[in-house]
């Protein structure tokens, strides 16, 4: 009961300062919105933007039948945006990045009507880029089909012994290829993989919300750890020692207050994210609760250690900020560890903050069930226990 009384006294002292509410709730919400906006801006942004690959079509003889056939087929593609340009203008557009490639139709291309050799077309594009590769793949099929249609028409004219047969045979073969293409046995779509999508799922706040939640949970130590320092400064801790309260009860009382504060903050941020930002913590409510409780216990135990170690308010702020930056940056609260290098990610995964993020992201992004929350919860509880033992050991050695 005395443990609860001590915790209630701590919370009452903390919460009577209205500035604390700004620090505990308003700032994390603002930062969550800000970070979510930043992640969102990093994606493609406008859903209505034209994502087709730009292709400059350079043809000195645009009126030839073969050229018209090829142009018409390319224009039909959902993945291509074909623009007729002069060669110099087309190359300028390529340099400016307005188009991904330039398709140059050789001079005399249309003269194959007479069954001449198929003249080679030229594609100018950045061959190492994914867009350049995509463009090549998109052009390869219709051009191959056109070559095939020309070959068939040529054979047909030879068999008939009539060059006049070339044109209708070409039309027929091309129509057949066109028909085959429309069967869509395999449809090639322009689809640039958005890597970020695997980090955020379908909502950038899936990263921003738990990230800021974990970061500001650590940040709240500035407030809660100061209570312990103030207890020493005002000599009330010494006075508590003269009562029949045992040292472990004092430590537990302060720990409970810190846990209560961090859990209250976490609960408010989860509710805000769930109902305002559409972050689906309720996808697995028990899992969210387990990870949150374990995370809050770890943070509270760390706050207790800071409160025991720090000798002044300045040191509390310093230790809390160092902890916040260390655990936030390395633990993947600002950006996913998947986006960082191998060594950084490996070190980051040792951090309790990384396990808190993993626990939340298993629920929010990967859509996993309760079983995916157990490992992060267990590891966070182990960290909490470790920090608590350190704090208790230091508390017993503390000079009052």
């Amino acid at each position: 009961m005395k443990i609860l009384d001590l915790a209630i006294k701590d919370l009452s002292q903390i919460l009577r300062d209205k500035k604390v509410l700004l620090f505990l709730v308003a700032m994390p919400i603002v930062f969550t919105l800000f970070m979510g906006f930043a992640y969102n801006a990093g994606e493609s942004g406008d859903e209505n933007a034209d994502t087709r690959l730009g292709l400059a079509y350079v043809d000195p003889q645009p009126d030839s039948r073969l050229s018209q056939m090829l142009f018409a087929r390319l224009e039909e593609s959902d993945a291509l945006k074909v623009i007729r340009l002069e060669q110099a203008e087309a190359l300028d557009s390529l340099r400016r990045g307005e188009v991904v490639g330039v398709l140059v139709i050789p001079s005399g291309f249309g003269e194959q009507d007479a069954g001449g050799t198929f003249r080679q077309l030229t594609l100018i594009a950045e061959s190492n880029s994914s867009d350049g590769q995509s463009l090549y793949q998109l052009l390869r099929v219709p051009i191959s089909q056109l070559m095939s249609a020309v070959e068939i028409a040529s054979i047909s004219a030879d068999v008939q012994g009539s060059p006049a047969e070339f044109a209708p045979a070409l039309e027929l073969a091309w129509a057949k290829w066109d028909e085959t293409s429309r069967l869509e046995r395999v449809r090639l779509e322009r689809a640039t993989a958005r890597v970020e999508e695997s980090w955020f799922g379908d909502n950038p706040y899936n990263q921003a919300s738990p990230g800021i939640l974990v970061q500001f949970a650590i940040m709240s130590l500035v407030t809660s750890a100061q209570i312990l320092v103030n207890e020493r400064k005002t000599r009330t801790m010494q006075r508590l020692m003269t009562t029949a309260m045992r040292p472990w009860e004092m430590v537990a009382g302060h720990l409970l207050a810190m846990f209560g504060l961090v859990f209250l903050q976490t609960a408010l941020l989860v509710v805000f994210a769930q109902f305002v930002l559409g972050v689906n913590y309720l996808n697995e409510p028990l899992g969210t609760l387990l990870v949150s409780v374990a995370m809050c216990l770890w943070v509270a135990a760390m706050g207790l250690l800071i409160g025991v170690l720090a000798k002044s308010d300045d040191q509390v702020v310093l230790f809390s900020l160092v902890s916040m930056f260390l655990f936030s940056a390395l633990g993947g609260t600002w950006f996913p560890l998947e986006a960082s290098g191998g060594a950084f990610a490996a070190i980051g995964r040792l951090m309790p903050s990384a396990w808190a993020m993993t626990g939340y992201q298993n629920i929010l992004i990967r859509g996993l069930d309760l079983s995916a929350a157990w490992l992060p919860t267990t590891i966070l509880l182990a960290y909490a226990f470790g920090f608590f033992l350190l704090a208790l050991w230091r508390f017993r050695k503390m000079e009052l």
Binding site: Q238, R239, T243, A244
Partner: protein, 311 residues
């Protein structure tokens, strides 16, 4: 059974032997004062009795409970008024008392009633809702005392509770101590003000350099100086030479100088005082003030240690 029994307590901090085998006892219902200058070991002794410091050797019992083997039981019988104000400045007087009452195990109606009683005892009922941080030094001291009385302890330890406060608050506190004692509480009171020790105490233990150098009632202690008189004198010059000259004057039994005041212990002031004037005159110094005092605890301390209590 004594309310407090201290047996050869020792405490060292590195090389410094702060308390060197202190022993004394206080009967139930009495006021025992620990009198001594700063650094005498009073607060260290109190800290060991309160459970804040573990003794290196020796033991003490509060209402029969050893502070070493039954610390919780000993603490439950004890109310401690620390030398420093140990309250939450952002909480009101009432909130502070309620919290400390809970820490002493009080709950519900009993707690409310007792908090009201204590607010009456310390005379702050009309200011109970004000934050302690806004109180004057004297008012804070009164709340500081009140917080130790909530569980009606059998023994109250007060560590210099009147340091740095106005005369009115000091008077209020001394009256409170007497009233608590009248109600049956045993009080262990530490002070370096001999007037307080003289006014309050049934017994006085005089401490110096970590030891109890004298113990007894006020009258018993005064008898130690065999009717010697104390004379406080001031000179018109820095008087190192004069002090050396006075030390060898016939009839001078002790001498000490602090803050420009020379304290001389003599058997017969009528006889010795003219000799002091004469010795000073020979060195070209003039005595500018003389204060002759009947034997008191200050005289006793000077007699026992060769130093004034205010040193």
């Amino acid at each position: 059974m004594n309310a407090i029994e201290v047996r050869h307590l020792k405490k060292s901090f590195g090389e410094l032997q702060a308390v060197q085998g202190v022993a004394f006892a206080a009967e139930k219902g009495e006021i025992l004062s620990l009198l001594g200058p700063n650094g005498a070991g009073k607060s260290t002794t109190i800290s060991m009795l309160s459970g804040l410091l573990a003794p290196n050797d020796g033991d003490a019992a509060i209402m029969g409970h050893s502070i070493r083997t039954e610390p919780e039981a000993a603490k439950a019988s004890l109310g401690v008024v620390p030398q420093d104000i140990a309250l939450y400045p952002d909480l009101s007087a009432r909130e502070n008392l309620v919290f400390w009452g809970k820490m002493y195990g009080l709950r519900g109606a009993a707690l409310k009633t007792r908090v009201d009683e204590v607010l009456d005892i310390i005379g702050l009922r009309d200011r109970q809702k004000d934050a302690v941080g806004k109180f004057s030094g004297g008012m804070k001291r009164r709340v500081n005392i009140g917080a130790a009385l909530l569980h009606k302890p059998q023994v109250v330890i007060m560590d210099e509770p009147t340091v740095g406060i106005d005369p009115q608050s000091r008077r209020h506190i001394l009256d409170n101590v007497k009233e608590l004692n009248r109600q049956g509480m045993t009080v262990l009171y530490t002070t370096h003000y001999m007037e307080e020790a003289a006014e309050l105490s049934d017994h006085i233990a005089i401490m110096d350099s970590g030891k109890v150098i004298a113990y007894g009632t006020h009258d018993e202690l005064i008898k130690l100086v065999n009717g010697q008189t104390r004379i406080d004198l001031t000179l018109n010059v820095e008087g190192a030479d004069v002090l050396d000259a006075w030390k060898v004057v016939e009839g001078v039994n002790g001498i000490d100088s602090t803050d420009g005041v020379v304290t001389v212990l003599v058997s017969d002031s009528n006889l010795v005082l003219p000799r002091l004037f004469e010795a000073a005159g020979k060195l070209g110094a003039r005595i500018t003030s003389v204060d002759i005092q009947e034997p008191n605890l200050e005289t006793v301390f000077l007699h026992l240690t060769g130093r004034a209590l205010r040193d």
